[in-house]
Every structure is written in C-alpha cells, then in structure tokens.
C-alpha cells in the first residue's frame, strides 16, 4: 500500500474495499462461466456475458454511493449488479426465470436487471432508452433540491447509466445528454466500449475514436479510460461523481473494454472476428490485472486470491443447487401487474 501519496482517489481505498472490488469481479466471472455451462447443458435458455467488462462495471459502482445513487444499467451489467450488492442467488433466479427473481419474477429475459431497493431501474431491451431515464432521475434529484422537497440524508445524489458504444448511435443518447448539458444534471454516462455491436464494428458505428469526443457538443465533461483497469475506472468515475455531487454537471466516459464471449448465447462470433483477436484480448484480463496490481501493492497474496475464488465458486454452486430446485412461475402469473393499484399518494418514495 505504498501508492497513497499519489493523487488518485483509488490510492485511498482500504484493503477491504480493494478485496470487495476484486471479489465482485470474480463472482461475476464465475457466475458468468457457470451460466454458459448451464446453457450448454440446456438448463437455461439465454445468457449474455459481462466477461471482459468486469473492471469497468465494478470500478464504476464503487466510485458512487453504492445502493443509494440511481443506476440505469444495461443488459451486460451483471458484475455491476454484484458490485451493487447482488449475490449469485439473485442472478441465478433471473437466469432460471424463477418467480422469486428480483428483476422481473421471470417475466423478462435474464440480464434485464431491476432492483428498486438498490436504486436500479428495470432494464428493457431497446438500447439507449435508459440514458433518458437516468437524465430524468438526475433531473429529479436537482428538482427536489431546488424545491426543498424533503429528502432523507441517504437520498440519491446522482444517476449512473451505462450502454454499449453501438447504442450511442440512437437518438435517445443524444437527447439525454443534451438534457444533461442544458440542465447541468448530476449524471454519469458510462459507455462500455467493446468495439462491437453484436457483429458491427466501431468504425461502422461512428467516425470518431472516442465516444467522449461527443461530450463537448453537449457542454458536458468527457473522459476516456482503460476499462480493463478497475482502479483507473474507479478514479475516472470518482471524479465524475464529485462533479455531479458538486453541481458541476454530467460526464460522458468512454471505457475501453473487450467482450471475451459472443454477444450472447444466441450469437456465434466466428463470422465477424478472428479467434486470434479474441485470444489476444483475453490476455488482458481485467481480473488478473487487478489481482496483480493488488499483489504488487501488497494488498493481496496469491493464496488470498485462491481462497476468494474457492469461496465465490461455492457461492455459485449453492445458488445453483437452491434455485434449480425451485418451482417455475404459475402460468397465470402472466396476468398480474398490468396496472399499479391505488392512488399516487400511497407511492411516495
């Protein structure tokens, strides 16, 4: 722990927190690997991976007020859900589409996350819509402060939203960031830039190198970060979060990552990228990088890592065993929850 003198926020992270970051990434990875296995075994019908994105997702979440600030994630954010507080069981409920699933009780495909208690807004599939919701939530934060509405001490103070670089081509991305600029909103828009939108390469998606080049056009801040480096992501998002908390507006972050797996279990990526490319990228594994960083810092031993790994693996095992045995939703559950009952006052949040 010799880096404390450096002027980067991650240098002040406690060993416990560093371990928590690493553990979230590792649990995500082990769950993710298991899900592919379950898919191959025909036990689940769909999965989409965070593999390669873990540092970006976890590093970001640790830099905000976790579980309090609003989060509008996208389908690839399973490591983010873990960083926010989910365990393997919650993820398992989703992939098995069990009635107890927090996200949707089996209504939505896996990866369409939701957890109101953690401030995580229900994810749909049409891309980029969540960026507008996040702008609206950030708007609400500012509105409440301005109007002096009663807000608990631990109220959300920013909204974090994520999307893939391909999804930035949507009009909604533009409209949301424009609102963020006009209203100086406490918003962080984190682009998990893996260079592909399913098969479509970055170059077919935009004529610029960094998505953050668009920030200036909205009068907001922009940043680029190595999304395979959890602590670098932490530092960048931390800075963006301070900006948001201090009323200095929104930040658009381009986090360079790589998707180690096909787009989803429905995809076959051989038609559009070479095995060599994938192998080369896999060498830059964000988990192994953080492991090494922590070892170099003296904050972790190889044995610690093995222990942590064994522990998360058994969490995944236990979750699978428990959830697999659960009953499926009742068919008629399809009819529930079309309209919220009651009157608005009862819903005060």
């Amino acid at each position: 722990m010799t880096q404390k003198t450096l002027d980067k926020p991650s240098a002040y992270l406690s060993e416990a927190t560093l371990h928590a970051i690493l553990r979230a990434m590792l649990l995500s990875r082990r769950f993710d690997e298991r899900a592919w296995l379950l898919h191959r075994q025909g036990k689940i019908v769909f999965h989409a991976s965070a593999m390669g994105h873990e540092a970006a997702q976890v590093g970001a979440v640790f830099a905000i007020h976790r579980g309090v600030d609003y989060v509008c994630p996208y389908y690839r954010d399973l490591a983010m859900m873990i960083a926010l507080g989910w365990g393997a069981r919650a993820l398992m409920l989703d992939v098995y589409a069990k009635p107890g699933g927090i996200s949707s009780a089996g209504r939505q495909m896996p990866n369409h996350f939701s957890d109101r208690r953690l401030g995580v807004v229900s994810t749909s599939a049409p891309v980029a819509v969540q960026v507008v919701h996040a702008a609206g939530m950030a708007f609400a934060i500012k509105y409440k402060a301005r109007l002096g509405l009663p807000t608990p001490d631990d109220a959300p103070r920013l909204a974090l939203t994520t999307l893939g670089e391909g999804s930035t081509s949507q009009g909604d991305f533009h409209e949301a960031l424009n609102w963020a600029g006009v209203h100086t909103l406490p918003l962080i828009c984190l682009v998990e830039n893996n260079g592909y939108a399913i098969s479509v390469k970055l170059q077919a998606q935009m004529a610029i190198r960094d998505v953050s080049e668009r920030a200036a056009g909205y009068g907001i801040h922009g940043a680029v970060v190595d999304g395979m480096d959890a602590l670098a992501v932490y530092d960048t998002v931390y800075e963006a979060a301070q900006r948001a908390y201090n009323g200095d507006g929104a930040t658009l972050i381009d986090a360079k990552v790589y998707r180690f797996t096909p787009h989803s279990s429905d995809d076959d990526d051989r038609s559009y990228r070479s095995r060599e490319e994938v192998e080369a990228a896999r060498a830059n594994d964000p988990i192994l990088r953080l492991r090494q960083t922590l070892i170099d810092l003296g904050a972790l031993t190889a044995a610690d890592f093995e222990e942590m790994d064994a522990e998360v693996r058994s969490e995944v095992d236990a979750a699978q065993a428990e959830v697999e045995a659960m009953p499926d939703p009742a068919p008629e559950d399809a009819l529930a929850d079309v309209f919220a009952p009651g009157r608005v006052d009862a819903w005060q949040s």
Binding site: I102, S104, S114, R116, S122, I141, L147, Q348
Partner: protein, 327 residues
Amino acid sequence: MAVMTLIEGLRQGMDEALAADPRVFIIGEDVGARGGVFRATQGLFDKYGGDRVIDSPLAESSIVGVGIGAALAGLLPICEIQFADFIYPAFNQIVNEAARMYYRSAGDWHVPLVIRVPYGGGVGGGLYHSQSVESLFAHQPGLKVVVPSTPADAKGLIKAALYDPNPVIIFEPKKGYRGIKGEVPEGEIVTSIGAARVARMGGDVSVFAYGMMAYYAEQAAEMVAVEGIDAEIIDLRTLAPVDRESILASVRKTGKALIVYEDNLTLGYGAEVAALIADDGFEFLDAPVRRLAAPDVPATPFSHPMQDFFMINPDKIAAAIRELAAY
C-alpha cells in the same frame, strides 16, 4: 358552478395540482413563458416559476423519457406533447418503457406519468396538425388513455390522471378547447378512469363516441330527435380501460350501434368497440354494427373543401343515425 371552456378546465386542474403538490411539474415545448401554443398552461409559469413549468428542448422522446425518469424518482410530471402528430418520436419511450415498466419489474417500479396531447382535426392544420392517434395507445396494455369532451371531465380527468400511479395519456380535442363550454364544480373533482358517460339517454340507436365526436353526436341526436329518432349517446371518455358494461348495456337496450371517430376507419379505436359488440353484444343486435370515421387516406388535408370532406361533423352523424334507425 362556474361555466368555463374545456381548456380552462384543464388549466384549472393543472393549477390546483401544482398548488397542492410540489412533486407536480410540467415539461414540454413552449409551456413556459409562452403558456403553450394553445395557452393550456397560460399563467402557470408566472405563478409557479420556471422550476415547475419547464420549457424542454425540442425532442419528444426525451420529454417523455425524462418524465419517466422523474416519475421513477418520485415526482409527478405532466408532459405536454405539442400536437398529437408529433408524439411518434416518443413512441418507444411511451410504449416500450412507460407502459411496460410496472409489468416487467413485477410491480417493483411504477411510472406515475401524465402525458397531455392535443389531437384532432377540423382546425385547418393539414396532415401534421390534425391527427388522431389514440388507437395506437389504447392498444397498449399498461397505458391508460382518456379523452375529455366536457370542461368538467377535462378537469376531472387530469386530476384522475395525476392520482393514478400508472402512465395516463390525455388526448385533448383541440378543436373543442374554446368551443366546448360547460359547468365545472368548484374545487376537487375526479372523473373515474374506466367509466363511460351517458351523454344522452335514448332507446332507438346507440352512438358511441368521444372527444369532439361525442360533442357532435349530442348535436346530431338533437337533430334527429325532432324527426322522432331517439338516440342514446355514450361518451366513452376512457378508451383504456374501456367501459364494456356501459357499451353492452346500451346495445342491449337499442339493438343498434353506431361508433363515431375522427381517425381513419381501419383500425381506428371504433374497430375495437365494434368487435367487442359483435362478440359479446351479438345477441342484442338488430342491425349491422356501423362505423362512421374518416376515410383511409394518410391524414387530414389542409384545404378547406378537402378537410370538410374528410372530417366527421354533426350532419354526417345525423345521417348515419337515420340510416341505422331505418334498418
């Protein structure tokens, strides 16, 4: 009771809501100092300030999407879409997001959003300032869709929409904004969403309509009354959820159903009413289920002779009632 116009009823409803609850705010194009292009929000900016009555960027998807986010965060937004014709850029946010949020989160998140949308023709607005788009939204479970045709319902429905924990679209018949006048009770009134209004009792023919067409249908009923035809006029008022019972009760009584709407005939809202009657009301029917609607051309033409040809009016409704009565 005060007599006021339909748009005054709306404005009073919003005014009272803004006064009563700081969570209520308005966003839309020109809703601020300009008071809206139809003046629906006139005076509210001066009264409540730019923090509550907010001019948005010219981008409907974000007007609704920001409204959704704010609603999720506990506020009660009223989003104004300047004309129904311009609601399509927000279609994805309304249909895929607002309408499905409660269902997809299994009741965890809800979206108490109100969307106000001036709609309808006969105002010289041409293809893009005259459209009736309500059937597209009444088709979406998870959305409530209401249409006032009296000033009291204008106020009562906007209140009801604000109290509803679900997304509610109010389609406002803009041709009636100033032309439709009526009594509005003082203070709090809430029109219950899901209940039609019997605008006129009658025994010969049931006419189902809403918005401007309900207003015209009442006029048409008076025209044919002097000829001895006793039409019952049902102002459907809430299109989603629809009041099946009131519809079927009326058809049971008259045996004849005419549905009037100003949208294009094919798959306009009246198609559902006709289909519903043709199934559950079949045994009551003494005549074909008739629809009177705009022809299937892309939208209302601008030039007056063409517009008048396209639009439904009291004379056309009276003629359709007569024809059905004579069946």
